[in-house]
Amino acid sequence: MAKFTAKPKDLINIDYTPPKTEWMDTPTEIREHMFCHATKAKDLETVEFPNIHEWRPQDEDWNLPANWEQIVLQGMQDLLKKYRSFQLFMDICVRCGACADKCHFFIGSGDPKNMPVLRAELLRSVYRGNFTLAGKILKKIAGARELTPSVIKEWWYYFYQCTECRRCSVFCPYGIDTAEITMMARELLNLLGLQLGWIGGPVANCYMKGNHLGLEPHTIKSSVEFFLDDIKEITGITIEPTFNRKGAEILFVTPSGDLFANPGTYTAMGYLMLFHELGLDYTWSTYASEGGNFGFFTSNEMAKRLNSKIYAEAKRLGVKWILGGECGHMWRVIHQYMDTWQGPADFLQEPVSPITGTKFENAKATKMVHIAEFTADLIKHNKLKLDKSRNDHLVVTYHDSCNTSRGMGMLEEPRYIINNVCNHFHEMPEDTIKEKTFCCGSGTGLNASENMELRMRGGLPRANAVKYVKEKHGVNMLANVCAIDRATLSASVDYWVPGTAVCGTHELVANALVMKGEKERTLDIRLEPLPGKEASE
């Protein structure tokens, strides 16, 4: 054992100052708790992804294919040719820095490579070095660098520290969509077989079984039946939903996470109760049983393949239109990509609410309506009997999912619903909501457990705003319309703002919904006693 010779004075004289090196000369250390495990080869084989091989992020050698450099450069060339936006985003940035401090990962981590401008430079530097004359000649002076295995590791580490939330894009004077830069980088990494387990597994499951969790039809059905028992205990009402029913008017598709993990399960109970009360002619599908699309985090082609199953099932069942549950990235996919991939879905009809007659003209091409739009319309037309006081024990704030707010512009509908089912609602500060909302910190397939430290860093700015309204207004419930939010914000607020719960908006609707023939409610949707309405023992 080394002799301990430090004097007390020396002990308080340790210099923690990091070395001052340029970003290109600062090596990337792949740290535990910051990354997700590698995917299993069998999952990649299922969807026929290229260059499948065994590797571990913490290992020195990632066993890259022999011609890895050629794969990446050819891949980049293909993407530049295919997407003019990518070419533009590579060329146009003037490094003004407007985006630099807008990223939740930079704000929470303090790591400069999490500045969106610098994260994009990780890719741009290779683009310049290989695809621009100035970069080829002037090299580092022109911001170019060589492609090396270390660069691949750096890409992998940092492009999986971006949730494609697009907050930085709101502030970019050129409108550069940094999320699309991350998508391109992830496509390139996917070409090398460097996929995450938390993404590759759900993609394979969804491709084979229709949902991320790999739930088979009987499991889905029994999960829903589980909810029905709870609903009966709460309301006394027996609900009998249908599955895979041909000829139903509406196909309902929601993220599979809502079927299994709390608090998403309570949101699923809310859907069941609402549809029963309306007498809606709808069906669940055990095949198109996933609203989310983790393929979106691998490649454009994979996202398209997974998206198509929803429409194939709608066609098979012969429904008129599709109603979608509370999800985030599902709606970015539907709103911004679906119509280009598969549309227009002419075999379906333009969605019309059978209850109010409202035409959802915004869904004319996709034929798919977000449940928040559907429910807000019901409330607007006074079609629901609501007892707000059943949510009086909750002081609610609302977190805009990045994808529903920035991706599809749905800002007011969830708020309208919450204000009609709750008496106590408080907004978080202006710069942290709506178009400028902070990400939950765990989207785009980063909601694994092994990277919890990363998730807490990314979750800090959102949680910080929640903490503010908790201290100011006593907020105890963080509502949202996204399954990943429900799953991941629970952990984030448990660390940063203990004593705050997370719920889907339709859980609040279900609490307030006065159903025909229901018994006097003494329990809320979580089967907790309703304050002031407890059953006498």
Binding site: L11, I12, N13, I14, Y16, T17, P18, K20, R31, H33, A100, D101, F106, I107, G108, S109, G110, D111, P112, M115, T219, S222, S223, F226, D230, E233, F260, A261, N262, T265, P429, D431, T432, S449, E450, M452, E453, M456, R457, L460, P461, N464, A465, Y468, A491, D494, Y495, W496, L523, L527, E528, P529
Partner: protein, 198 residues
């Protein structure tokens, strides 16, 4: 002049120097942002650290003045704000909490630069201040550990949440395990929860 009076008079300068000290543990691009962005929502790390440091200095001054020791009820939340952030950033444990000990040097520097230097203050006062800072440092370590334990608890809870309903439906959860308090949050019915709490 008493030491607490000196600290009160120089509070702004001491907080500023201490803040600069902790900022130096971040890369320079980051420390500029942490220092200059004053909005608490745009810059929660910088503002939480600054607010925490101001509060801690006030508490140290109060403890020296009243000679009643630290009020942990007030200092713990201030420490928690800073340490909770540093516990999940790119720091070793000693780096995460070491900033507290750094205050000794910051105060020493100010004392040495004052007209009379350390001779102005009694040895007891200086020892007392050192002891207060040591206490803060130890409590910061407790908070750091609770934060790290929380991270592991969150990981474990997520795994349980994902599998609980499946195990329950498959009737694979042993009755004795069902009564384990760690499953309490995952109970599905009020009746089940009441059973456990009995």
């Amino acid at each position: 002049m008493k030491l607490y009076e000196f600290l009160s008079e120089n509070k702004t300068a001491i907080v500023s120097a201490w803040f600069n000290e902790i900022l130096a543990s971040y890369p320079s691009d980051t420390s500029n942002f942490l220092k200059n962005k004053k909005d608490r929502f745009a810059n929660p790390v910088g503002q939480t650290i600054l607010d925490g440091m101001e509060g801690l200095i006030s508490q140290i001054i109060a403890a020296l003045k009243n000679r009643e020791g630290l009020d942990n009820g007030r200092t713990d939340p201030l420490l928690d704000g800073i340490v909770r952030i540093r516990a999940i950033q790119e720091f070793t444990p000693s780096e995460a909490v070491g900033f507290i000990l750094g205050l000794k040097q910051v105060v020493s520097g100010h004392i040495n630069n004052s007209s009379n230097g350390a001779s102005e203050f009694s040895g007891n006062e200086l020892i007392e201040m050192g002891s207060i800072i040591d206490t803060l440092s130890l409590r910061a370590f407790d908070i750091y550990m609770s934060c790290r334990e929380k991270i592991y608890e969150l990981k474990a809870n997520e795994a349980k949440k994902l599998t609980f309903r499946l195990l329950q439906q498959a009737n694979l959860i042993n009755e004795s395990r069902m009564s384990d308090p760690c499953f309490l949050n995952f109970k599905n019915t009020d009746k089940e929860r009441k059973e456990v709490l009995k």
